[in-house]
């Protein structure tokens, strides 16, 4: 009896040894001694298998970091950092698959197909930590833009992922650096900045310096 996990593992094994996708679901199912029907019960296609593998990386990461003692005390910035570090630490063990999967689907604008499910998991996570940050005042609640913060984080994720694929420093130390610097810059932008204060000051002047009257309002 095939399970989601056994199909995922067999699939990873196949693509890594053969360097390409199985010719058809029929052949793949036969090789792992199961039936096509069984395969389709869990997945719609090979791309679907890859999507689920990626999404599971993210879920495993979350399960791991959320049980850490310090998690509850972390700010949303630290939670994001923690997710990135743990995710890429986990991915290290599956680097060959990650490289294969991302490269075999070509570079396209926007999100690669194989990351679609992971994106949903990631965005749910991003939403929850950003909400926490907005509520605590850690992040600046800007009209229109606050809703787009999670897109910023997703872009950052895509950037670090690409960086890691190309990273050949020992222990992927450069990726650590990219995470630390990248996430910090992203969160710096989400926080209250001099621009917010400037706009605020402008509003104040506009309302209180008689500017309105002079302008004929």
């Amino acid at each position: 009896m095939a399970t989601i996990e056994s199909i995922q593992n067999a699939y990873i094994d196949h693509v890594l040894t053969e360097g390409t996708q199985p010719k058809s679901v029929y052949i793949f199912a036969k090789n792992i001694e199961t039936t096509e029907e069984e395969f389709y019960r869990y997945f719609g296609s090979f791309a679907g298998v890859e999507q689920s593998i990626w999404a599971d990386f993210a879920r495993k990461t979350l399960a791991e970091i959320e049980t850490q003692e310090v998690w509850a005390q972390y700010t949303s910035r630290e939670k994001a950092l923690s997710f990135f570090y743990a995710f890429f630490e986990l991915l290290k063990g599956r680097r060959s698959f990650a490289v294969y999967s991302l490269n075999s689907h070509g570079r396209t604008l926007g999100t690669p197909v194989v990351l679609e499910q992971l994106k949903t998991v990631f965005e749910n996570f991003a939403d929850s930590i950003l909400k926490q940050g907005l509520e605590s005042g850690e992040l600046s609640d800007r009209k229109f833009f606050a809703k787009r913060y999670k897109d910023g984080l997703w872009m950052q994720f895509g950037f670090v992922l690409n960086f890691w694929i190309k990273d050949n420093s020992a222990g992927f130390e450069k990726t650590d650096e990219a995470i630390e610097k990248g996430i910090n810059v992203t969160f710096d932008l989400f926080e209250r900045t001099p621009i917010d204060n400037l706009i605020d000051y402008g509003k104040f002047l506009y309302n209180n310096s008689g500017f309105k009257e002079k302008a004929g309002f």
Binding site: Y74, L81, E173, E177, E180
Partner: protein, 440 residues
């Protein structure tokens, strides 16, 4: 880009003062990268030459701004204008060291990478907020088995940025100093070597243990215990030393007796290493010392060690003896050995450099002449300054002279003199004397 000043806020104030100029340069360079990549988004074929030019221009500008006062000190410290001014190197490397503090998750990540455990699993208590910044990382307080520990954690990628920064700064340094690139290279490599050694924490732990054991015979000098099993390439665990930094100590108005005691400990510490171990803690930065409540000198950083080979040690320190310095022939021989006088110098040049270097060495050797020396007197430091100033105006010193070892040995000794001057200490200088030979 308008968000960049934000980063500045997160840098500790004392460090801002130390290298404000370079933080600014760092921001500009960061900006240049942003500019580069945003342009590249629209034009993928763009190459990096514009970026390099932008960076170089900003670095050059900030170096030029430093020309005034910093250079003066640099000249004094580097004996002649030709050696790479230490502040340039120092400050430049600091610009990278002034990276924002490591985030909590990065600390956890670093520990997991090297020990497979989180700090909470290793120590009984671990303070995730750093207590102070170390040169290329930061220090956290921790507790284990009832002992308070200091845990030093290094920022990832420091080593790489040192090498790339030095490469970047090199063409501008020699343009600024009017030196030829080939001549400068020797000094640059020496500096790079030392800086890179500082990023190797495993080496630092080994040396710290070696040096603290060797120096344990000295009076009033204490060292933390190091824990190699709790240290790795990026992490050092050692005992937490209670005490005050030099500035804080001086602010308490210590008695002359106490100042002399600390000064003596410093003198002994350095001269024992130089003359007995022939390798010296080459970073006499006030931040590397603690003055304990018992009035002892605590030494907390062995990142930068300069080893002195015999072919440098013997000619150089023999010059500190008046018996040799009064013998012109032997002195010139020593200068030749130290590459301060070149083989193809004309007799007039030999005479000129002989006089200039003799004056310099006799200033340097003043503390060794009698059995005690009062570093509180300003007269001595005024003459040092004046001499440095004079040298900087001489066109004859616009070329490389002196072996590479001078960079760190001078930094060490003049750094030591400066700290002793701040302490206004009077010390016995005959405790560990240079080993001299009188002829070659």
């Amino acid at each position: 880009m308008s968000e960049t000043p934000k980063e500045q806020n997160s840098i500790p104030t004392s460090k801002v003062q130390r290298s404000a100029k370079f933080v600014k340069t760092g921001l500009k360079i960061g900006g240049n990268y942003v500019k580069h990549y945003s342009k590249k988004l629209f034009n993928p074929d763009m190459d990096k030459s514009e970026l390099d030019q932008d960076n170089a221009a900003d670095i050059y500008q900030s170096l030029s701004e430093l020309k005034g006062s910093a250079l003066k000190v640099a000249q004094m410290l580097s004996m002649d204008k030709n050696l790479l001014p230490q502040p340039y190197v120092d400050k430049f490397s600091q610009s990278q060291y002034n990276a924002p503090p490591l985030s909590g998750p990065l600390i956890v990540q670093t520990f997991r990478k090297y020990f497979g455990k989180t700090p909470d699993q290793i120590y009984d208590k671990f303070n995730p907020r750093s207590s102070n910044a170390a040169s290329i990382g930061q220090v956290h307080q921790a507790e284990l088995n009832g002992k308070t520990l200091a845990v030093k954690i290094q920022y990832p990628g420091v080593g790489d940025s040192i090498s790339s920064d030095l490469k970047l700064v090199k063409p501008f340094a020699f343009r600024l100093l009017g030196m030829n690139e080939h001549e400068l290279d020797v000094y640059m490599r020496e500096v790079e070597e030392r800086l890179l050694e500082e990023t190797d924490y495993e080496l630092e732990v080994r040396r710290s243990i070696e040096f603290s054991t060797a120096c344990s015979i000295l009076n009033n000098v204490v060292f933390p215990v190091y824990y190699p099993e709790l240290s790795s390439k990026r992490i050092i665990t050692m005992d937490w030393l209670e005490g005050k930094h030099l500035r804080e100590f001086l602010a308490t108005n210590p008695s002359q007796e106490l100042r002399n005691q600390i000064g003596q400990a410093l003198w002994d510490f350095y001269n024992f290493q130089q003359h007995e171990l022939r390798a010296v803690h080459a970073d006499p930065h006030p931040g590397n010392f603690m003055i304990t409540p018992e009035g002892k000198l605590g030494v907390i950083d062995f990142g930068c060690i300069k080893e002195m080979p015999d072919d440098f040690y013997t000619p150089f320190f023999s010059l500190t003896s008046t018996d040799l310095l009064d013998n012109k022939e032997e002195t010139i021989k020593a200068f030749r050995l130290l590459d301060m006088i070149h083989t193809n110098d004309t007799p007039a040049q030999v005479e000129f450099y002989y006089n200039a270097y003799k004056e310099m060495i006799s200033l340097f050797a003043m503390p060794y002449i009698n059995n005690t020396f009062d570093f509180g007197q300003t007269h001595f430091f005024d003459s040092l300054y004046r001499f440095g100033e004079k040298l900087s105006k001489m066109p004859e010193f616009k070329q490389a002279r002196g072996v590479k070892h001078f960079i760190y040995v001078n930094r060490t000794n003049f750094g030591l003199y400066n700290i002793l001057h701040e302490l206004k200490a009077e010390v016995r200088t005959d405790t560990y004397k240079p080993h001299v030979v009188l002829a070659y």
